[in-house]
């Protein structure tokens, strides 16, 4: 069974087509990234999954439960951390979490709430009013609120936007441990290195459509390459290398290489030609490059 099944979902806001026939599946236990530029439809899709937005057409299901026909089971199965920082100023951190638990029909959830408070570093702030917390702390409470009913599927909509390094690392450690414990994670982010490190599969969206959907490894292999960057001190790049090299704005030559043997051969060729190297670096394939290429391919 798919943890999340989205089939041909359409959504319009007036003249704007937010989702133009999106289909994708997220498997159980997966760490899945949903990437795309602003306005691609990521948040609309997540909102439709949580029932905040009603799709005009198509179907969405969480753990096999349709989000409209079987909304109670679907909503119990998913925990969504919204993108914007929002909070209820009337309550303390602990009250907020107890109330959120209660909305899911969970009355005696104190032990899990204590664990969440501790894991997210909110313990000392448990009795502080929400208003008095910093932005990062409010973000942590929102994560705790989404997890209060222990949903099998966890959706994080840009959880690290504007968040300091410490929280980002703590958050990823926590989310990784949840994934290891069997939770399915869906993540949107603009920090592509985060997606590359964490996610096993990636969907890229643009203008309301999925334009790429594959494992991270295959996307990297298909759209990015290992490169050798060299800055020369004196001499010229040998002709064989110059033919496939490009000149970067930094002044370095960028030479695509398949493996380390090619790196060695390139260096040997330069030595033979009497070319002196000022600096060199081998760059691994990068998701950013994949992203840029795919978005360019689908430029209107």
């Amino acid at each position: 069974m798919a943890a999340v099944a989205v089939r041909d979902v359409h959504k319009r806001f007036g003249a704007v087509r937010a989702l133009a026939g999106v289909s994708l599946e997220v498997h159980e236990g997966e760490f899945f990234a949903l990437l795309g530029p602003n306005g691609a439809g990521k948040t609309t899709l997540i909102s439709a999954l949580g029932g905040l937005v009603r799709a005009d057409g198509g179907s969405l299901a969480v753990m096999g439960h349709d989000v409209t026909r079987d909304f109670r089971a679907a909503r119990r199965a998913v925990g969504i951390v919204p993108q914007e920082i929002v909070f209820d100023p009337f309550f303390t951190v602990r009250e907020t979490l107890e109330i959120q638990s209660g909305y899911f029909g969970l009355r005696r959830n104190g032990a899990w709430i204590d664990q969440l408070l501790e894991r997210l570093g909110l313990g000392p702030k448990a009795h502080a009013n929400m208003r008095s917390l910093s932005g990062g702390m409010k973000r942590r409470v929102m994560v705790a609120q989404a997890l209060v009913h222990r949903p099998p599927v966890i959706v994080l909509d840009e959880p690290t936007a504007g968040v300091d390094v410490e929280l980002r690392q703590a958050l990823w450690a926590f989310v990784r441990s949840l994934n290891a414990a069997g939770h399915t994670i869906v993540l949107t982010t603009h920090y592509l290195e985060e997606a590359e490190q964490l996610c096993s599969r990636i969907a890229m969206m643009k203008e309301g459509r999925v334009v790429a959907l594959d494992t991270t490894a295959r996307l990297l292999a298909a759209f990015s390459e290992r490169v050798l960057r060299v800055k020369l001190e004196r001499g010229e790049l040998p002709a064989a290398l110059a033919a496939k090299a490009t000149h970067e704005p930094s002044g370095a030559w960028r030479i695509p290489v398949d493996d380390m043997a090619q790196v060695e051969r390139a260096l040997a060729a330069m030595r033979e030609a009497g070319t002196a190297v000022a600096s060199l670096e081998v760059g691994e394939p990068e998701l950013e490059e994949v992203f840029v290429k795919i978005m360019r391919q689908h430029a209107a």
């Binding site: 009603r54 119990r76 919204p82 009337f90 209660g102 909305y103």
Partner: protein
């Protein structure tokens, strides 16, 4: 287990945490109305035969405060949640439209009834008025608060800005409460205005509530209760329909 009791608890806690503003202030305002109007008008108005004007005024003012506060509770809670964005925390859990409706409605009724009790607690030791038919009074208190709590839900859902909610409050709720016979008996009005008053559901809530105290009213209490309850039922259907459609909540 349902999330309804928690939403109700949260809505009650929300106003109770600021009870100075949500309960004590309206009680004080009502007492000031009572002091000023009773003093200014006592010589000039004879509403019901044998009932001193001050006595006549108390249930009307209490009901006015109850209606306004029931409306304020649900409407302000919903619009605040919409504007600050924390409505998502209510929309994401498995709460049905009916559970959301019932929780906001009951919390509004609790606030209205609490304010009403506050007004009586503050006045009865100064002006002991009779309560001839307490069950009638209670029935009208419930229906009146229910009607306005529901109207508050509708206003909160419909409004997108505080400005629009204020317009709803000032151009609909205030005129309807003021023109519902709080300060006078509708029999003292010219014929045409009497007829207009009879279209106002708030009038039946106040008139019937007063019957519970004095055993006298402009309209028979059964008819008043039927009219007010019908208005409450119609508004409830509308509020539920809006919530089911997700009107201005689920886009």
């Amino acid at each position: 287990m349902s999330g309804f009791p928690t939403l109700l608890y949260k809505e009650v806690l929300r106003f109770w945490k600021v009870s100075f503003q949500t309960v004590a202030a309206p009680v004080l305002t009502t007492l000031l109305y009572l002091l000023v109007f009773a003093h200014a008008l006592a010589e000039h108005v004879q509403a019901f035969p044998g009932v001193p004007y001050l006595h006549f005024l108390i249930p009307g003012l209490a009901m006015m405060a109850m209606l306004q506060n029931a409306f304020a509770n649900s409407s302000s809670s919903i619009i605040q949640s919409k504007i600050t964005g924390n409505m998502v925390f209510i929309l994401l859990p498995p709460l049905s439209a009916f559970e959301i409706f019932a929780a906001y409605l009951l919390a509004a009724m609790v606030r209205g009834l609490t304010v009403g009790l506050g007004v009586f607690a503050a006045t009865l030791w100064m002006v002991p008025i009779p309560m001839t038919h307490p069950l009638w009074a209670l029935a009208f208190a419930f229906v009146g608060c229910g009607m306005l709590g529901t109207l508050g839900i509708i206003a909160g859902i419909w409004s997108e800005k505080f400005d629009q909610l204020a317009a709803f409050q000032n151009f609909l709720v205030m005129p309807l409460t003021f023109l519902a016979g709080v300060f006078y008996s509708v029999h003292s009005l010219p014929g045409a205005w009497q007829q207009v008053s009879r279209l106002n559901p708030f009038f039946y809530a106040i008139d019937g509530f007063r019957y519970g105290f004095f055993g006298q009213s402009d309209v028979a209490p059964g008819a008043s209760l039927a009219f007010a309850a019908s208005a409450f039922a119609a508004l409830s259907c509308l509020a539920l329909a809006l919530l089911r459609r997700g009107y201005k909540l689920r886009h």
